[in-house]
Amino acid sequence: MFGGLERTPRTLLVCDRSSFLDEKNRLSSQVEQLHFNYKVSMLLPECSSAPSHLEAVLNSIDSFYLIRKLPIHELLDKHFLETAVHQGRVSGLSYGTRIDEDNCVALMPNGHLSLSLDKDSFEVLGVEGKPSRFNQRSNSRFVVSVDLTDSAMAPGGRGYQRLVTGLRSRLQLKTDFLLSHPPGGGASLQALLSRYDWSEHRPEIRSHALKDLSCPLLTSDLQSCDPHRLLEWLGAVDAHVSCENSSSSFLSSLVCPEPKTRMSRALSVSVCGLLRPQDVHRLIQQIRCYLDQPLVENWASLTVHGFVDSPVSWGGEEHGVLKGGDHFYSLLMFHDHTYQLHLAAGAHDTCPP
């Protein structure tokens, strides 16, 4: 009975090594599949201030909207479907809802609407759905997944009517909703936004210059550093946790993995908000340009975190929270255009791509 105490909850880590110059590298599809990104944090060694191009890209990331108490049947409104969803330009996520307690909603750019409902809500809604993969003894969570671009869900069709009636009169699901800014201006959303209380937010950018940092010796050859220790160290740097492990401090016993070296300065930049895969691609391009310059250190890292309470993870697969719902990936880029990619997920998650 107590054997379980030694085991920590299951986690998954997928490690991938390739080069940007290789045509068959899957990086762009792996980045593309995580639709909802909460935070991107970058670590640039031997750098004291952000390069101007990187700063420009960070400032040009689109803002996003937060709509308070949006009834979810509005996402099935005909006008909204035609102008935003069918063009494949908008994505959104419910806000202030916990995936293991409440009903959560995600609208993906490919037109899939995913509702993660608890048992009572699912039974009241009355639409076909599947029990969650992560249910244990009893079915307490259900997932309703609808393809809004499918012909069966065209406005006026039976499936569409049933879902709209369910959301409008039977379940009346209302949550705060984060909506991404569609490319080409927010005109298509104006009709929807004008009916509800909304606010526009810019992603929050934070930048921290670190001094005298001990860091592992990272080279692009095989197994230079154990992935778990490396990710732990990157997380400690991002959270501003000291890795000195001095005997007088009881707060943290995290250490920098061996073999290590000392850096006189480094820059940690993070941006938080509702970020899309396109934004992540642009940031990766900028860091590659930065690494191309001759006078810099050998490597740079970029870590992307997904939303803990998102109902979907990579590729629209279901995501849940057992004790923690982190799903993230960490890209370590080198001067010679090679990279190491580590994708991690928690207990209630499917394997990352």
Binding site: L5, E101, N103, D118, E123
Partner: protein, 324 residues
């Protein structure tokens, strides 16, 4: 999964302490708490069963749960500490003011009776002393079949190290008999500092011998089952409710309480699985998620029949799962 609940928060007469307790619980992430009134009759003196204070007098307005957008829901609960079988009077009128009914047996005979016969929702396992009896499979399985849950409270473990040993020992022996089913974990907190967050209690459950999923259920789904079971006690098998309406004419429409003995309460968490799957949500006025909490927080004592909605009670209609 269901929302996190803490079904045992100790009542105290000081309003400021209750306010800070409920605010701390909302801040930690609990969506429902139950204020526990302990009733301990002894042979010498026969105290009165306490009447629950209206929630509005304890705390007003209800704080919003951290991370969600709903206010916390506060229920009333009565725990009867029994040392003799006459202490618990079945169908006493005073019990109607409480949403949840719990009993704490102190002898083996009383434990057996509580598991098999008594109409309660929760059986408390004492954590302040070494258990005078062992748990036998038969009454424990009987209780599981009826939908009664066992409760282990953890704040005694925070207060005192001897009680920590008793808590863990008693909890482990309970888990061996019941295999982790129908267990809830709750604080019996008297001060805000004795409350712990739901994920911390999930970890504590591992020490008691529950599995990872089982311990998370103990704080969420099983608590939801208890609250639903308690609601069925006030109605006929959870299908037919009586509600006071604005006009006097609608009156009682429910079947008499005796029909409950036809065993319809079933095994929880599917207490509604007697085929009428749509019934209970409908009684919450057309499926609105917030309906029951809303009618509670309108200052009533927490008993659903007094919602005054004016609608006739027998809402068996519209089982939504049939495909059109």
């Amino acid at each position: 999964m269901a929302v996190f609940m803490d079904l045992n928060v100790g009542f105290s007469a000081e309003r400021s302490r209750m306010t800070s307790l409920i605010e701390t619980a909302a801040h930690l992430g609990f969506s429902t708490v139950a204020v526990n009134y302990v009733f301990e009759p002894t042979a010498q003196k026969k105290p009165e069963i306490p009447t629950p204070t209206p929630i509005r007098e304890l705390i007003d307005p209800l704080p919003v749960v951290q991370g969600r957008s709903r206010p916390i829901r506060v229920l009333n609960r009565l725990t009867v500490v029994m040392s003799d079988s006459s202490h618990f009077r079945p169908n006493a009128a005073e019990y109607r003011g409480f949403d949840l009914l719990a009993v704490q047996p102190t002898t083996e005979k009383l434990f057996h009776a509580a598991c098999m016969l008594y109409d309660v929702d929760i059986i408390c396992i004492s954590v302040t002393e070494k258990l005078p009896f062992f748990f036998k499979r038969a009454p424990v399985n009987g209780a599981v079949d009826r939908g009664v849950v066992f409760e282990v409270s953890y704040s005694a473990a925070i207060r005192d190290s001897t009680r920590r040993r008793y808590t863990i020992a008693n909890a482990v022996s309970l888990m061996e008999s019941c295999k982790g089913k129908n267990v809830i974990l709750s604080s019996a907190a008297e001060k805000p500092l004795e409350l712990r967050g739901p994920y911390d209690i999930t970890n504590l459950g591992l020490l008691f011998g529950l599995s990872e999923a089982g311990t998370k259920e103990a704080v969420s789904s099983t608590c939801r089952s208890v609250v639903l079971h308690a609601e069925t006690r006030k109605s006929a098998s959870g299908i037919v409710y009586t509600m006071k309406s604005c006009s006097e004419s609608s009156g009682q429409q429910g079947a008499p309480p005796d029909c409950r003995s036809s065993g319809q309460q079933g095994a929880l968490p599917d207490c509604r699985s007697s085929g009428q799957q749509g019934a209970l949500p409908d009684c919450r006025s057309s499926g609105q998620q917030g309906a029951l909490p809303d009618c509670r927080s309108s200052g009533q004592q927490g008993a659903p029949p007094d919602s005054g909605e004016g609608a006739p009670a027998a809402k068996r209609a519209k089982p939504h799962l049939t495909s059109d």
